[in-house]
Amino acid sequence: MSYLTDAPIDQQRLTEAVMRPSDGALALFAGVVRDHHQGRAVESIFYECWRPMAEKEMAKIDAEVAAAYPDVAIAFVHRLGLLQVGEASIVIACSSPHRDEAFTACREIIERVKLTVPIWKREKGPDGEEWVGWQGK
């Protein structure tokens, strides 16, 4: 299964993908396009990705977090392309018999995705488009 998608992410389907009869807890995180960033208005965000390496990095995060929290079932997907305000760019679902590992694993996955997965966003606002972060200038 791919960690990347060009279509809206179905939160319910991701939840169902992880829940097992032995699970008492689900921790879910969604990253969503918001209408502002560092004081600038945002209308939409384009997510660009280096797909093969992104898939590889996400599989690595999946495997390493699963190894650290063996009771946790994990599913996560990042969306690519043009997203409007209110649309989810990433959804992470972690289920576990007990809530502590589910929360911790979920949090760890989003932190790691933001650190290493080669995905970049270009924000569009009333003043035009701009790559977020380092801009080489």
């Binding site: 280096w50 590889k56 995705v113 080669p118 995905i119 270009r122 380092w134 080489g136």
Partner: protein, 81 residues
């Protein structure tokens, strides 16, 4: 030897290409390619190191020595999630 250089996002926009085939000398390091870009593209000149470097889809130090057929990517700071 031949290596392939990949560029993404803002770096691709600056260079105006997402991929280049390069003929380089044995012993060439990833950072040598970066320094080549800095000469050609003044916007990159102030940056002594690339933000991130990957060779064959693994993050490496920019001083990594390249081998024939390597795929080198300079990766702007990621902003997914």
């Amino acid at each position: 030897m031949k290596v392939r250089l990949l560029l993404f996002a803002v770096l691709r926009d600056i260079v105006g290409a997402d991929e280049r085939e390069l003929e380089v000398a044995d012993g060439t390091r990833a950072i040598d390619l970066w320094n080549g870009l800095r000469i050609d593209y003044p916007r990159l000149a102030p940056y002594e190191k690339p933000p991130f470097t990957a060779v064959n889809q693994d993050y490496v130090q920019p001083e990594a020595v390249l081998r024939d057929g390597d795929e080198v990517a300079f990766i702007p700071p990621v902003s997914g999630g």
